[in-house]
Structure formats: C-alpha cells, structure tokens
C-alpha cells in the first residue's frame, strides 16, 4: 500500500504528538508517582515500529525527526538513537522474511530482540564516548527492566501506530510502503 505525501505528513504529525505524550508520561508523570529508577523509553518503541513495520526510503528521515523531538526530553540527543534506529532498520530488512508479527507474543518477542540490538549499539557508543568500557555491563543491564515492560505493552502501541499509519494487520512485518 502506498501513501500520499500529505497522508505521511499527517500520520507523522500524529506520531510526534503521541511521542510527546509518551515522553511527558516517562519524564514527569511516572517520576511524580515515585518511578524514578527505570525509564520506559517510548521513543525506542515508536522508532522500532517505524523500522520494523514500514518499508520506505523516508524512514531514516522520520526516525531522525522523532529523535529530534526526543532530544527535548533527554540529553541523549538525536544522533545516538538515529544511528541505533538505522542499524535496527537494516537488521529488520535483513530478517524481513522471517519476521511475522501476527500474534501479540511474536510482537513482544521481536520488539525485545530489536531492543537488545538497539541498547547494545547505544551502550557501545556511550562507552566509546566516555572512554570507559568497565561500565558496559552495568549500562546494558540498566536497560533490561524497562525494555521488558516496553515489550509487554508493544502489541498495544504497535496496534495504535498501525492505525495511525494505516498498516493492515494481515500485511506481515513490512506492511506499508510510503
């Protein structure tokens, strides 16, 4: 299914709004009720949807746009997540024949797998930036609890994003061409 440019822009604007809502929940609402140790990095989930479920030359630019908005809420900046997103997207492209997000369990499993690739990339880059590989294990480990929770809610978020981007459920992993 192909989308018109105006449709893409509308879907992207809605996705940005959703991301801002998610970021406010993570950065303000959850810490306000005492959840401070682990973050639910919703930007990763939204970008994973883009990387896994969409098939388009525009995706890297969309990922970059999402990460620029994420950088308002995090000192992580846009570049780290953009690079991780592109690596995940390329991995997803490579594995597209075997990726079948037809059940909630498969979605959770796939999201967990790609989150691991994401966090591995991010951890390596952070360790390179701070010139300290002693913290590799600790940084990677710190992602695990949040990533499991994200995987558990991923079917709902993917369904929501699928509706926004008009990705039919039965179309398989690389559902929409834009």
């Amino acid at each position: 299914m192909r989308m018109r440019f105006s449709q893409i822009m509308i879907s992207f604007a809605i996705t940005l709004g959703l991301l801002i809502g998610f970021e406010i929940v993570t950065s303000t609402l959850l810490p306000a009720i005492g959840w401070k140790e682990y973050r639910l990095t919703f930007n990763v989930l939204v970008i994973l949807f883009m990387a896994i479920r969409m098939d388009s030359p525009l995706v890297p630019w969309l990922i970059m746009g999402l990460q620029i908005i994420h950088s308002i809420f995090s000192i992580e900046g846009w570049a780290l997540g953009t690079l991780a997103g592109i690596i995940v997207m390329m991995s997803a492209n490579y594995l597209k024949e075997i990726l079948q997000l037809t059940t909630a369990f498969m979605t959770m499993f796939t999201v967990q797998l790609f989150q691991f690739i994401w966090y591995l990339t991010v951890t390596v880059i952070i360790c390179l930036k701070i010139s300290d590989f002693d913290k590799f294990g600790l940084i990677l480990w710190s992602f695990i609890p949040g990533s499991i929770l994200l995987s558990l809610i991923s079917p709902v978020v993917f369904w929501l994003l699928g509706t926004i981007w008009r990705v039919p459920n039965e179309s398989g992993p690389r559902g929409v061409e834009i």
Binding site: E37, T41, P60, G77, A79, T123, I139, W141
Partner: protein
C-alpha cells in the same frame, strides 16, 4: 540484469546520508555541557510548562488515587459519609504536604543563608526520559539568573550542575550520571578522589590508592577543584570498599547524601562574577 532496483538505491542513499549525519552528530555531542538550539529552546518553553503543571498536580493526583479510586467498591449507604471523609482526608493530605514543603523550604533557606553566593530556589519538574542519563529539569532558567555550569544543591548536599538552560527552564546533570565527575575529598582523611555515577542511584569513588586509610562510613565533600563546585559541599558517604587482588586503586561505593528519590526543591548557586574561586578552608569548613 539490475541487481539493485531504484527503490533500494534510494533507501541505501537515504540510510547512508542519515547515518553519516548521525555519526557526525555523535562525534560532536557532549554529555557534560550543551548549548540548546533555537528550536530546542522554543519547544522546551512550550512543553515544559505541561511538565511543570503535571508535577505540581502530583499531590492532587495521589490524594485522588488514595481517597477516591480505592473506595469505589464501598456500599451505597456509606457513600456520602465516605466522600466527606475522603474530602477531609484529602484536605489533610494537602495540608500535610504544605507543612512538609514549608519545612523543607525553611531548611533549604537556612542552609543557603550560610552561602556567600547568589542562589535561586527551583522545583524539579521532570527527569530525563532516557534510561542511561540521570538529568532533572528545573522550573527556573536564564530569566531567573541561572547560568550553565551553576552548581545545584539541597540542604542535604550536592545535586549536580546546570547542563543546559533555556529562558524559563534548566536541565541539571546530577551526580548520579556517569558523565558527571565530581572532585571530592574524604572529610576525615582529606584524601582526594573522583565521584562518578554508576547505577541504582549509587556512585563510585575512583582513584583512591590501596594504602589510603578510608573506611566505610567516611563522608565525602567537594574538593573545590575544577571550577564548578564550591569547596565543602556534602556529596555522600562511603558504603562499601572492595580490594581487588590486582590494581593500584580501591573499588569504593558511595551513596549520595541527597535522596534523589524524594528530590523536589533545589537551590541553584549563581557563581559571583567577582568572587574569589576558593574561599579560605576555615570558612568552608564552617559552612559544612
């Protein structure tokens, strides 16, 4: 036969361009200091008031949760009475919160009275949304006199320093973050070391030689070296010391003196333009 079609070519080109941009962005990125772009400032100024509002409504939210949602299943006869009790309890919770806030602010003010620097009191309105960074957002910015690299404290001790600032909001890199390195000394032995954030709201004290007589329970204060933090601010306490069979230094675990779990208000110290960088040690020790 074409091995790669046009669409694939475009994808490869786009991926490469964005990846190169990202790699360049990463190479230029500093995790210890940041100058926000105009776009960043604008969006922060629009979104942060929402964070501030949500953060302020925390008390009402928790009162609502405790006093209304949990009594949904009570019988109809008691409904009116329960509602009244809930309202009264909610009022009491709010009053108690106000009383506690008053107490905290008083303590913070009396602590800061001892400081020679200008200071700005600010509220924590948000935390960094990424897992690997421990940054808090304050509801005060340039308009209140806050500058980049200004130290941030509470009456319990050091919180961190201002990493980036917009007109009305500022982000603080806390001492829990691995990118923040604080030059400290052990109060009892005057041994110097560097405190770095690690994980689980804990820090580590680095570069302490194996033969240094440091002990569990020793308190750490800022050493005043490095030009960011004034000397003598409480940083934390040593909670564990491990001696490996190899290496020249000790593995020292530190618990920050600030309880970041309950952090609500902080003081931002505005460095005096004309101030002498380091006050005499006697004065500094009196401040502690």
């Amino acid at each position: 036969m074409k091995l790669i079609n046009e669409s694939s070519k475009t994808k490869i080109v786009n991926n490469t361009i964005v990846a190169i941009l990202a790699i360049y962005g990463i190479s230029q990125k500093r995790f210890d200091l940041n100058e926000p772009t105009l776009f960043h400032q604008l969006v922060t100024e629009v979104i942060s008031p929402v964070q501030e509002g949500l953060s302020n409504s925390k008390k009402s939210l928790s009162a609502f949760w405790e006093n209304y949602l949990l009594i949904v299943n009570t019988s109809k006869e008691n409904h009116v009475l329960k509602k009244q009790i809930s309202r009264l309890e909610s009022d009491l919770t709010t009053m108690e919160e106000v009383r506690k806030e008053n107490l905290r602010l008083k303590r913070l003010l009396s602590y800061s009275d001892e400081m020679s620097q200008q200071r700005v009191m600010a509220q924590v309105v948000g935390w960094d949304s990424a897992n690997e960074f421990k940054v808090i957002r304050l509801n005060k910015g340039k308009k209140n006199g806050i500058k980049v690299m200004a130290p941030v404290i509470t009456d319990h001790g050091l919180v961190g320093y201002v990493y980036r600032v917009t007109d009305n909001f500022s982000d603080v890199l806390t001492i829990l973050d691995q990118n923040n390195r604080v030059d400290v000394m052990v109060e009892r032995t005057r041994t110097h070391g560097i405190v770095e954030g690690v994980f689980n709201f804990k820090c580590t004290l680095k570069y302490i030689m194996r033969n240094e007589p440091v002990e569990v329970g020793d308190k750490l204060i800022t050493a005043g070296v490095g030009g960011i933090y004034p000397k003598g601010i409480k940083v934390g306490m040593i909670t564990d010391i491990t001696k490996e069979n190899f290496g020249m230094t000790l593995n020292v675990e530190v618990i920050p003196s600030v309880d970041f779990d309950k952090l609500e208000e902080v003081l931002v110290l505005i460095p005096n333009e004309t101030a002498v960088p380091e006050a005499p040690i006697a004065v500094q020790e009196k401040k502690i």
